[in-house]
Amino acid sequence: MSSVVVVGLSHHTAPLQVREQLAGETGSLEVFLAELLRREVFAEAVAISTCNRVELYGVTDDAAGSIQSARTVLRERAGAAFEQVLASGDAVYGHRGRDAVRHAFRVAASLDSMVVGEPQILGQVKEAYDRAQQAGTVGMLLGRCFTRAFAVAKRVRTETGIAEGTVSVSSIATSLARKIFGDLSGRRVLLLGAGEMGEAAAKSLSGSGAHLVVVNRSPARAEALATACNGEAVPYVQLAAELVRADVVITSTSSPSYVLTAPMMKDVSKARRGRPLFLIDIAVPRDVDPRVGDLENVFLYDVDDLQRVAEENIKQRAKSADAAERIVEIEVEEFEVWRRSLDLTPTIIALRERFTAVALAELQRSSGKLELGPKERQVLDRMVKSMVSKLLHTPLSALKRGARGPDGAALIEATRTLFDLGEVAGEDAEPSEDGKLAPEKSRS
């Protein structure tokens, strides 16, 4: 029967250059989908392409063959330059059945990400899924697989601490500011100096609704930065006044000595009348005298502090990953149960057996009252079986057609209920059999 397979490469298996080459420009998703369709690799297909992974998900009856063809698609797309890398079996992985579903769930839940727990991947997977849907390559199996993957991601996010704590310096600065001030809209962020990290932190803060003020020794640089970050440039002479007004101050100057000294900040602190001040010193060497951090209602963080927070958060996330993996495992099992229920073969066989048994039993009962020779017996026998086949032909054809549709599982379920065929027996092994439906015997 049909199973889910995935073929791809990620930051775990392939170097950045290869991933870059494959991910390429936007629109590569559609290219992949078109290519997969053209070669008839999969019955259903979803392509994911981010800077950390390129993966082709599909549904197929012939897992081994499809994985081979999908590998070829990737290899051709990567071009001759990376032939060598991709030819080695390790760079491109292929999973099938349960493993492929698990992989999809883990990717969506950000368990396979470079920074475990980072939130972007879920959006990227959702987008890839939407694109595949627009291209019309999503069917019942992948549809269910990915909607479950999104649900798993949500469960993991809410039930484990995997997404807790931010791991980049600028987002840590923002989340710390939130911990001090609550809502950041209307807060004043003062950016002092022109370091790159300072700029990133300032952008992240002003992205959260804070008002950005840029002070720089060079007015031109201040102006440029202010425009770039949607802020306001203020002349350097107003620094003291701005320090009093600001809620968050980010310093990243290249000054060799302290720009904000302890006595200076003491006066500032007095003038602020107890309003909390969040000082982020991103400069190396430092711009702010560490003693400033001892002032009442002043919170001083330097680069090392922020870095430490980042490392701590990464460690914490790794711990939560175990709990997340358990959730994934449970969900994979549930998916497999559902997929098994899709399998038509046992239903068809059971239905046929049920009908034949009833017909033959009736024949047995009636034949006692008649005096039949072996020849007549044989004719009647064949007639009964043929009747069963003909009677079942229409509903079975409809069942086979319907089972491929979006409500396939419900249809099979309904059939089993109507004819009291019981539960579908579980199968432990991967669907390694060719999975073809039992050939129809309804010759008339």
Partner: protein, 265 residues
């Protein structure tokens, strides 16, 4: 018999809610928070059932019993209502529900004390005003405790899971300030009405007891917190410490009365 069972059930429900809130604070479990909320509501319902059964069975409600009952229900209710606001302060339950539990257990002492029936109207006013004031201070206390914890972790750059779940400093600061602003006039009224009543009742033995001293200290502290906030921009940590000590002082007054009622009954 039934009354005792209800009392025990209420105490257990409060304890369970406190435990759940603590779990949700330490472990960050959303389900525990939701569960805690319902448990706390259940505790309130049980307590109401307990008090109404007690009264319907004809036992008189002592003053202390009224006060402490009002306090525990008031704190629990006010906390639940405060959660309807925009900011998420549900973790404060870890500090507030134990306080409610403490007062509820205290309400068991001196439950049925007969008071002279010719008391003036001042007594119920004194009790109501004090209860409302203390409920407000209890909320301020919870917020201040969270503030102090949060500020310490921020200063020590120890940003573990607990830090993640506590509300922002500014939210706690404003919440505490608002609660003190509500509680302070009530406390003032409470002290005045109490003093007036005591003056009329015990003119002969108008001594300055320890309880009076603590009430006075608490009042001064809250006055100081508010005054310095307005005048000198006293915010954050110092204000939080002032609020915590102030609330503890008012609690000491109550405990003093509790012990006296317990001994005399």
């Amino acid at each position: 018999m039934w009354v005792t069972a209800l009392f025990a059930a209420t105490a257990l429900a409060y304890a369970a809610a406190a435990g759940l809130y603590l779990t949700s604070l330490i472990k960050g479990n959303n389900r525990a928070t939701r569960f805690a909320r319902w448990t706390l509501l259940g505790a309130i319902a049980l307590q109401v059932a307990f008090v109404s059964m007690d009264v319907s069975l004809g036992s008189p409600m002592g003053r202390m019993h009224q006060t402490l009952t009002g306090l525990s229900v008031g704190i629990a209710l006010a906390f639940l209502l405060a959660q309807l606001r925009r900011e998420n302060i549900s973790v404060l339950g870890a500090f507030l529900v134990p306080v409610a539990l403490f007062f509820f257990l205290g309400s068991g002492i001196g439950r049925s004390v007969e008071h002279a029936s010719n008391e003036s109207l001042l007594v119920p006013i004194h009790i109501v005003v004090n209860v409302l004031g203390l409920v407000a201070f209890a909320l301020a206390f919870g917020a201040s405790l969270a503030y102090v914890l949060q500020e310490r972790m921020l200063r020590r750059k120890n940003l573990g899971g607990l830090f993640e779940r506590l509300p922002a400093l500014d939210v706690l600061d404003r919440f505490g300030l608002r609660a003190v602003l509500v509680g302070f006039p009530l406390l003032t009224l409470g002290i005045l009405s109490g003093a007036f009543w005591a003056f009329r009742l015990e003119q002969a033995m108008l001594g300055f007891t320890a309880s009076h001293a603590f009430a006075f200290i608490a009042w001064t502290l809250f006055a100081g917190v508010l005054g310095l906030r307005m005048a000198a921009g006293w915010r954050g940590r110092r204000a939080a410490y002032g609020t915590i000590v102030g609330f503890l002082c008012t609690s000491v007054v109550l405990v003093g009365y509790m012990l006296r009622t317990g001994l005399s009954s």
